[in-house]
């Protein structure tokens, strides 16, 4: 459905996207995962015909993003990273406006957006600028869907949205996927990566890995040890000072530890930490998550 071949793009000296090639299948929920400034937005803007690639080519449903941009604009729904609806128009006015602009009506495609729109319908006379973050995002999604696009491109849709709304949002995406819409979504949150069919890990404009989240973590050869104690900050410092430590990262309440050549056993760490007077120490080996993969790739590429 989406074919990206050797796409590059730079702003002045700064190369935002470096020769990325990627394929997204029809009906897939595909995630672009990477930190801020990785080039996700640039790539999405090229696909939505908002930017011209410097080199390489990309096709959306067989249409070239440079030459067939007019046709692509009919079949793609795009939700930019920033809330980009008219704040001084009401919910209903926004939706009607975008429906007419795309040459359709709200009634015609209502069943597609019903699940999403019914939640904000009680506020349909409220100005969009006065909605909460979660509601804004639902409205933006409704507007992006109103013309029944074949491909939906969502740029960091869950940034700045509370945890409950984020979960709801991903449930909605799953439902849309069942209706046959191909979805390309970018996010800086690793936990959301697990909800995609396949993900592409992007870092500094380069593609690190493309696969399903499970395969990516399964293929990850390293052993991850999860550690906690009462004093988080001192724990990180002490672990970093440990002679066989390769990487130490904080992950919520835990610290994820990888040893040099994976040659560190859990009891070794237990003894070491007790010597440093840590209390309530928990040390256990876990299967790696997508975060660990990403962190390790990030440090390798440096």
């Amino acid at each position: 459905m989406i074919k990206i071949n050797q796409i590059s793009k730079s702003y002045n000296e700064n190369q935002a996207v470096k020769k990325i090639s990627l394929k997204v299948n029809e009906g897939e929920l595909f995630g672009l995962i990477g930190p801020d400034g990785a080039g996700k937005t640039t790539l999405m803007r090229i696909l939505t015909t908002l930017l011209l690639p410097e080199s390489g080519e990309a096709k959306m449903d067989g249409l070239d993003v440079v030459n067939d941009f007019k046709k692509i604009r009919h079949i793609v729904g795009y939700m930019p990273g920033r809330f980009s609806l008219y704040q001084d128009l009401s919910v209903e006015e926004n939706l009607n406006f975008f429906a007419t602009v795309f040459g359709t009506t709200v009634q015609e495609n209502y069943d597609l957006i019903r699940d999403i729109y019914y939640q904000i319908e009680p506020f349909k006379n409220r100005r969009a600028g006065k909605l909460s973050g979660g509601m804004k995002q639902k409205l933006a999604l409704s507007c992006a869907l109103i013309h029944k696009p074949k491909i939906l491109v969502l740029d960091e849709p869950t940034t700045g949205v509370d945890a409950v709304s984020r979960k709801e949002f991903w449930e909605m995406l799953k439902k849309l996927q069942k209706k046959g819409i191909t979805i390309l979504v970018s996010t800086p949150y690793m936990d959301e990566a697990n909800l995609c069919d396949r993900v592409a890990l992007i870092q500094k404009g380069e593609l690190l890995n493309v696969d399903s989240p499970q395969r990516i973590t399964e293929k990850f050869p390293r052993r991850i040890i999860q550690i906690r104690s009462d004093e988080m900050y001192r724990l990180i410092n002490d672990l970093r000072a440990f002679e066989k430590a390769e990487s130490v990262f904080a992950f919520g309440q835990f610290v994820h530890f990888t040893g040099i050549n994976d040659d560190v056993e859990t009891n070794e760490l237990d003894i070491y930490l007790e010597k440093q007077n840590h209390n309530n120490i928990v040390v256990e080996e876990i299967s790696p998550g997508i975060e660990d993969v990403f962190m390790s790739m990030q440090s390798n590429s440096k």
Partner: protein, 368 residues
């Protein structure tokens, strides 16, 4: 067509829901017109004067009375000697001192000649010149009426008439000028701001990925402001007529058509500005600095173009307001038809087409 209609509707929502936009659109023009109307004056009224009458006879009394009853002057003080003159000017209130020599009336009767001295405060040269010429006019008028037979040797008597503005009212000059200025500013500034606002808020991104064509976006932006500006122009002409007494001797329809043409030109210029400006601030600055000052100075609205240095005269040819001011002055004051202003009209049409063409070409169908 449906797309365009809903775009225009949306644009009206933006305008009517933003108090700032409403203020700029309707508050500023009226305020500006009234301010210009009371500030720019080439006539004088209630100028304070002092009189040093050394003769105090009937003739000087009559002349003084005639001067004071003209409505232009107010007597501030009767002086008793010449020493006070400088002091009284320093205080700043009195702008002119009239000094009659002693035995004024007698000398006039006997010798046919008497001296009156007019001393003016020339720290404001324009007022000084006006005050002096008004006073001399009144004195000459008096002498002529009192002594119709008085003949100076070899006298040429010019008969002056001010055509199209008999009373030399300054309102006749500034109403067309202010109209050009306001329409130019409002139209160009508002369109450029409304387009750059979409860029700033990111909504342009969505409009661009939609199937809307650039022409539709541009027309959708132009039409609402065109309608409001025409309403504005109507109000300005009305205020000019009712408050300042500027006549509309020519065809009102022609006047409105020319006004619509000028507004179209300004709107297209605004769109051109918006294609170059990245944010609302820049757009506003370009419109304000780039359009307001040149329009005021170079359009012949306040300063006659003929008196400018040649370089500025040449530059004034690219000022659209110059042609518009000429056109509306001709229609409102002289009452002429299209036959007399077709050249200026053609130039404005040309400029409009040029701006449309450039802005459609420069309008970006992508970001960047």
């Amino acid at each position: 067509m449906k797309q365009l209609k809903s775009f225009i509707k949306k644009e009206f929502f933006h305008i009517f829901r933003d108090p700032r936009t409403m203020l700029i659109l309707f508050g500023i023009p009226i305020a500006q017109l009234l301010i210009f109307g009371t500030v720019i004056k080439s006539e004088i009224k209630d100028v304070h004067i002092a009189v040093y009458d050394q003769s105090k006879d009937i003739t000087t009394q009559q002349i003084t009375n005639k001067i004071l009853s003209s409505g232009y002057f107010i007597l501030d003080k009767n002086l008793e000697n010449t020493n006070g003159i400088e002091d009284i000017f320093r205080k700043g209130k009195v702008k002119e001192v009239i000094v009659f020599e002693s035995n004024f009336g007698e000398k006039l009767k006997k010798e046919g000649k008497a001296n009156v001295q007019l001393i003016a405060d020339a720290s404001d040269p324009n007022t000084a010149r006006l005050v002096i010429s008004y006073t001399s006019g009144i004195i000459n008028d008096y002498i002529k009426k009192m002594y119709p037979n008085l003949q100076l040797p070899m006298q040429i008597q010019p008969e002056v008439r001010m055509y199209f503005n008999e009373e030399m009212k300054s309102a006749y000059m500034f109403v067309p000028g202010v109209m050009a200025l306001i329409l130019m500013l409002i139209s160009a500034m508002m369109t450029s701001i409304s387009i750059t606002r979409e860029k700033e808020l990111g909504t342009m991104e969505i409009l661009l990925v939609s199937p809307l064509r650039p022409a539709q976006i541009i027309i959708g932006k132009v039409i609402p402001y065109l309608m409001l500006s025409v309403a504005n122009a109507f109000v300005i002409v009305l205020i000019g007529n009712l408050v300042f007494g500027v006549p509309i001797t020519g065809s009102f329809i022609l006047l409105m058509l020319e006004t619509i043409l000028f507004i179209m030109m300004a709107l297209c210029l605004g769109i051109l500005i918006s294609t170059a400006a990245k944010n609302q601030m820049t757009a506003m600055f370009i419109s304000m600095i780039g359009l307001m000052l040149p329009t005021i100075i170079l359009s012949g609205f306040i300063y006659p173009i003929e008196n400018m240095p040649v370089v500025l005269q040449v530059i004034s040819h690219i000022m659209p307001a110059r042609y518009f001011v000429t056109i509306i002055r001709a229609i409102m004051l002289k009452g002429v038809g299209i036959l007399f202003v077709w050249k200026e009209t053609l130039i404005l049409i040309g400029m409009t087409l040029f701006f449309i063409a450039v802005s459609v070409r420069k309008f970006k169908i992508r970001l960047e």
